[in-house]
Symmetry: C2
Subunit: 397 residues, 2 copies
């Protein structure tokens, strides 16, 4: 049984703030500061270049990957860390297209995160061989799984609405049509139980600065099903994906398994922070997280329905088809979120009109949710959002 008081104590949470934006950037793990000091003084500062072997820096991307693997039903050494999520989307799509050479369509939905679509657009343009990115509304994915589709690329949890795709069912349907699947787990990893192995998913990618609390710009990850990874000839064939990087041979030869998906020198400092953040999950059961997340989400929805009737719920009402966030629409959504942040309730705004609340049970309690809705109701009741300073548009992040 996960002790959420114990997990909450492992984060720095600023006094007077209720943080409902962990789905953009998780808070600082308490242990991060000490870990970084140790890394600077006892590793980099003492071992210098020797840290790559003596401090285990070189293998860290797989060590951390193995810890993430446990949360998402992935096998040992099936995950490589590094780069950014957008870059991992590129690697994933390039690999998936290679695995399905006779077909030309990348299928996604209109609720996918824009960067995933941008990356697909850039890849389609640069490969210049009649590929097509096809997007349909999320509800129409099933019918769109046709014989010309090479790759189904979806984000499991919609970044705006929190709508949750059925990964196992869609992967199965895709496979029946000979389609390779690429799942973006940005809003899933550490938030909801994921079982890549049971779903027989082909490729998955994700970021680690949201529900894993790895810090701003923390390294991304890529998973490839061990059954197919050896068929991939990496498009971005960097030296750390080489079979023997330190032989410095002139020709690329892919490393065994997932190693081939590494590109360049691992981001050791960031991996150290992330590795520390992963300690929190050592005593966490994702089923407990899911139960508590649903409890918090249902509470938020109920409280808002009672106290903030002008907000329109745009997340699914059925918690089984929703991730760990709840979003509402309001024509003054932007100003409302500015007013909320001013009063210590930190959520997020997503154009054109969505206010978004992430519910991370590791550090958010029912009392937080109730307190947040009291403030939200006050802002709405008294039209506090109507102040001029809240009308000026600028990126809220």
């Amino acid at each position: 049984m996960t002790d959420f008081n114990q997990t909450r104590a492992q984060f720095i949470l600023p006094e007077g703030k209720i943080y409902l934006d962990g789905n953009s950037l998780g808070p600082v793990p308490v242990a991060a500061a000490e870990r970084l000091q140790k890394m600077l003084s006892d590793e980099w500062g003492t071992m210098l270049i020797g840290g790559w072997s003596q401090a285990g820096w070189m293998d860290m991307s797989f060590d951390v990957g193995n810890r993430i693997a446990k949360l998402i039903g992935a096998a040992e050494r099936s995950i490589a860390m590094g780069d950014t999520l957008s870059l991992k989307v590129y690697q994933a799509l390039a690999a998936a297209l290679q695995l399905n050479p006779g077909r030309s369509v990348i299928l996604s939905d209109t609720g996918n995160f824009p960067s995933d679509l941008y990356i697909a657009q850039g890849l389609v343009r640069s490969l210049d061989r009649g590929l097509e990115l096809r997007t349909v509304p999320p509800a129409e994915i099933e019918q769109a799984l046709t014989d010309d589709v090479a790759v189904l690329m979806l984000t499991e949890v919609d970044y705006q609405t929190g709508r949750l795709h059925d990964m196992a069912a869609l992967t199965d349907l895709a496979h029946q049509k000979g389609i390779i699947t690429v799942w973006d787990l940005a809003h899933s990893t550490g938030a909801i139980p994921v079982d890549l192995g049971a779903a027989n998913a082909d490729i998955a990618i994700g970021c680690t600065y949201k529900y894993l609390n790895g810090g701003p710009g923390a390294p991304a990850f890529i998973y490839v099903n061990p059954a197919i990874v050896d068929r991939i000839q990496p498009t971005i064939s960097g030296w750390l994906g080489h079979q023997n990087p330190f032989d410095f041979s002139a020709d690329y030869a892919p490393g065994p398994g997932i190693e081939r998906m590494r590109v360049g020198t691992p981001p050791v400092i960031a991996l150290n922070v992330l590795n520390t953040a992963m300690d929190v999950f050592d005593h966490v059961d994702m089923a407990d997280v899911r139960r508590q997340s649903i409890k918090l989400s249902e509470l938020l929805i109920a409280e808002v329905a009672t106290h903030c009737p002008s907000l329109l719920l745009i997340s699914p009402t059925d918690p089984m088809t929703r991730g760990s966030q709840v979003s509402f629409a309001h024509q003054h959504g932007y100003a409302i979120m500015k007013a909320l942040i001013d009063r210590g309730v930190i959520g997020d705004f997503r154009a054109p009109d969505a206010i978004r609340f992430g519910l991370a049970p590791l550090y958010i309690s029912e009392a937080d949710v109730r307190a947040a809705v009291v403030i939200l109701a006050d802002i709405l009741d008294n039209r506090l959002w109507d102040r001029p300073e809240y009308q000026v548009r600028a990126a809220i992040t």
Copy 2:
């Protein structure tokens, strides 16, 4: 006049070690620890998601880029930071090929860093339209600049021998033949004066963990000549290269100038360390660094010639055609380097037989060089490398 005692004081240098491997990984800047603590407590820990605007995280990749620009003769806001050098090679080559669409050859030399060649191989394979990677010995580059060459991709300073290409002359010759240039500055930036503007170089890339001392896996950089950057349609078109990333529009539109070369969320923690490391250069004149580097290199070569006659110099003898490192060949090079490291002199080994010494004047003195050669001579004179424990091959890093 650069005060090298003052720069040396800004690094943590372990007692009893002479560090001649800053060309693999620079040492820890003293100020890094405090900067990281501040970033954790006053920025991420206090501002949470707000740090992206309030602490300037979002612009940090250009702010740091501007500081690097000053060292390599690049214009303000012509450099974007992020990812790894291998990835930047991919971006650079993809862009360069786009700028020269009618041609099919990527020309490089056999002394280029293997990852640059691997990346070119992967790109050539994936684009699958008759492109060719052609490599010739470094001395034959000039004659190889023929009309079918689209891109000349060279590392300015050879990672093994330290041989230095004449960037200005080769860029000029390349341009006369209608060839786009990609310069890898991994062993140049912070080591020797570079003037991308004067050379009218097209694209350049580099890493920041060597002579810039940004830490293991520190972010890489890419430079694009402002005169041509707007003609590039990025192949890796991530959201942070978008014109308006926070509009979350469905279609990619490249950001202005160099902004389009960003891919994903900036690695803020690593950028903070690098930004601190760049403070050291505020009072450094690269012409002084070059003068001192030549002095140290000439001293090392002279001392080795006198005291270690069995070592064969494989770096150029003329300092004007050499970077900031000196390499020697010896059939027992690997064991010699292991013995040296055991006795506190940290250099590097590069297969098959090269021992390599980086001379970074910011923290290496003439006394260091003399002391290192005394130890090296002792190892050679007494065949200390002949011990069994030094024969076992493993990555030295």
